[in-house]
C-alpha cells in the first residue's frame, strides 16, 4: 500500500470494512509510515468523538413505558384467566355451567382492534399531556398567543376554543404530528385533568375502528385506549381534523369537543357550517347529553 492509497481506505479500515488482506496491507504501511500513522490517529480520534457524541445520551426513562402504553391491545387484562376459570367451572358443572359460560360470552364485547390513529393520539396524550407541560414548546394560558404561534409554524390557522368562562385552562402547546402530518398540539387542564387537543389535516380512513355518534348536531368519533378517551371531528371546509384526548371522563371531553366546535360555529356566524354541525345549539355544561346514536362505523 502506498501513501496515496491510504486516504481511500482509511475510513473502511477504521470501520472494519476492509478485507483481511487489505487490512494487513494497511497495517504494514502504518507501521512504517509516520505521516500516514498521524493521519490514522487523527481519523481515529474523529471516529471516537463521533461515537462518544452519538452514544453518550440515553432515552428518557419513561419512553419505554410510554411506548408500551401506546400499543394497541386487542384483549382485556385478566380476560384469559377469567375465561379459563369459567371453562373449568363449565366442565365440572355440566350443562348449567356451559349455559353460564355461553351467557358470559355473550356479555363480553369483543374489543375493537385499535386503529393507528387512536394509538397515536393516545400515546401522544400520555407523552405530552401527562408530563405536566414538560414537553411543551410554548407555555401560555392565552389562546390569542397560542393561535398565531401555531399558524406561524404550521402555515394554517388553528382555532382554539375560548375557555374564559370554563373550567378548562390552556397550559401551552407544541408542534407535533398526526399520521405523519404536522399537527398543532395544545394542552388544557381541567381540575388537574389533562386534555389534549390536536389539529392537523384530514386523515384518510380515519373513521375505521371508531364509533360514530351524533351529539348535539355534531358528528363525533369515539374511541378509548388504556384509559385515554379519544374524540375526533372534522372541520370539513378547512379539511382539518381536530382530536381531543383525556384520561378523565367522557362527558367532560364531549363538552370540550363541543366547545371547540361551538367556537368555530360562532366564529363563522354559523352561516356556512355543514348542517350536521349547525343543527342544534350546544348543551349547557353539566346538562344531560342527548343519548348518542350509533351508526355503522364500529
Amino acid at each position: 500500500m502506498t501513501c496515496d492509497e491510504v486516504p481511500r481506505v482509511i475510513d473502511a479500515y477504521l470501520d472494519g470494512e476492509l478485507s483481511l488482506a487489505a487490512t494487513l496491507q494497511a497495517h504494514e504501511h502504518f507501521a512504517v509510515c509516520e505521516t500516514c500513522r498521524r493521519v490514522l490517529e487523527s481519523e481515529a480520534a474523529l471516529h471516537g468523538l463521533l461515537v462518544q457524541a452519538s452514544r453518550a445520551e440515553t432515552a428518557p426513562a419513561d419512553l419505554r413505558s410510554n411506548v408500551l402504553c401506546s400499543l394497541p391491545t386487542g384483549g382485556r387484562p385478566g380476560f384469559q384467566p377469567a375465561r379459563r376459570v369459567i371453562v373449568r367451572f363449565g366442565i365440572v358443572s355440566g350443562f348449567v355451567g356451559l349455559v353460564g359460560l355461553g351467557w358470559l360470552a355473550t356479555q363480553r364485547t369483543v374489543p375493537q382492534p385499535m386503529t393507528p390513529l387512536a394509538a397515536e393520539l393516545a400515546s401522544k396524550h400520555l407523552l405530552y399531556g401527562e408530563g405536566h407541560g414538560g414537553a411543551l414548546e410554548l407555555v401560555t394560558s392565552e389562546p390569542t398567543k397560542m393561535g398565531p404561534w401555531f399558524q406561524g409554524r404550521l402555515g394554517f390557522p388553528v382555532r382554539l376554543p375560548s375557555v374564559a368562562r370554563r373550567p378548562e385552562r390552556l397550559v401551552g402547546g407544541r408542534i407535533s404530528s398526526v399520521a405523519d402530518a404536522p399537527a398543532a398540539y395544545a394542552l388544557y387542564d381541567r381540575s388537574g385533568q389533562s386534555i389534549s387537543l390536536f389539529v392537523t389535516r384530514r386523515v384518510p380512513f380515519a373513521r375505521r375502528g371508531w364509533t360514530e355518534r351524533h351529539v348535539d348536531g355534531a358528528e363525533l368519533y369515539f374511541a378509548s385506549l388504556r384509559g385515554v378517551v379519544l374524540i375526533w371531528w372534522e372541520e370539513k371546509r378547512a379539511e382539518r381534523l381536530y382530536a381531543a384526548a383525556s384520561g378523565g371522563n367522557e362527558e367532560a371531553l364531549v363538552e370540550f369537543a363541543l366547545l371547540c366546535i361551538k367556537g368555530e360555529q360562532s366564529r363563522s356566524g354559523g352561516a356556512a357550517l355543514p348542517a350536521r354541525l349547525a343543527a342544534r345549539p350546544l348543551a349547557a355544561p353539566g346538562s344531560r347529553r342527548r343519548r348518542p346514536r350509533r351508526s355503522g362505523a364500529s
Binding site: Q52, T58, L63, V67, L68, L71, T73, G75, P182
Partner: protein, 186 residues
C-alpha cells in the same frame, strides 16, 4: 390468542425482544436526525408504534434492527416533506472517491481533535446536510455496516462509502472552523 392478534401477549413479547431492545439507539438516532429531544421522543414513539403494527412483516429477529431503523428514517423523511423543509440533495454522489478530495495537509493544521467538546461535535453533526448526516448517524449510533446502511438508505454501497467519506471531511472542517457553517438543514 395468537401472536398475530394485535394485543396478544406473544406479539408484545416479540415486539419487546425484537424492537424495543433497540429503543435507546432509535432515540439517539432520532435525536441526531431531528436535533430536538421532544421531536426525537415523538419520532421514536411513532417508529415503535409503526413497527408494532407491521410486526408480521418482519422476516426474522436478525433483520429487526435494520428494519426498525428503516421505519424510523421513512417516518422522519415523510415529516420533513410534509413540513416543507428543504432537504439539501445538491450533492454529487460518485461511487469512487477522487484522490484530489483528500488533503493531507489539513491534518497538520488541526488542533488536537480529541479535545473537542462533545456538545460541539453534536452541533457540527447537526449542521451537516441530511444526506451526509444520515450515514454518519447510522454508522456511529446504530453501528451498522456499509451494507446495512446501503439497505436502510436504499443507495448503492459505493455511495455509502462516498457519503461517509465526505461527511467526515465536512465534519472535520466544521470542527476546525466552527464559524464557517455548512448549509443548515433539518
Amino acid at each position: 390468542m395468537s401472536s398475530r392478534e394485535p394485543g396478544s401477549p406473544d406479539r408484545i413479547r416479540r415486539f419487546e425482544a425484537d424492537v424495543l431492545v433497540h429503543l435507546d439507539d432509535l432515540y439517539r438516532a432520532a435525536l441526531r436526525l431531528t436535533g430536538n429531544a421532544a421531536e426525537a421522543q415523538d419520532l421514536t414513539q411513532d417508529t415503535c408504534l409503526r413497527a408494532f403494527e407491521r410486526l408480521d412483516q418482519l422476516r426474522s429477529p436478525a433483520a429487526a434492527r435494520v428494519w426498525v431503523f428503516t421505519i424510523l428514517r421513512s417516518i422522519f423523511l415523510r415529516r420533513i416533506e410534509r413540513q416543507s423543509r428543504t432537504v439539501d440533495v445538491q450533492i454529487i454522489d460518485s461511487p469512487l472517491l477522487e484522490a484530489g478530495e483528500v488533503l493531507h495537509d489539513t491534518y497538520e493544521a488541526l488542533r488536537p481533535i480529541q479535545e473537542t467538546p462533545l456538545g460541539e461535535v453534536r452541533e457540527a453533526l447537526g449542521r451537516l446536510p441530511l444526506p451526509f448526516r444520515e450515514p454518519l448517524v447510522l454508522a456511529h449510533v446504530g453501528g451498522f455496516s456499509y451494507k446495512e446502511i446501503s439497505e436502510i438508505l436504499a443507495i448503492p454501497l459505493g455511495t455509502v462509502m462516498s457519503r461517509l467519506f465526505r461527511a467526515r471531511r465536512l465534519l472535520r472542517s466544521e470542527l476546525r472552523e466552527p464559524a464557517r457553517r455548512t448549509r443548515s438543514t433539518p
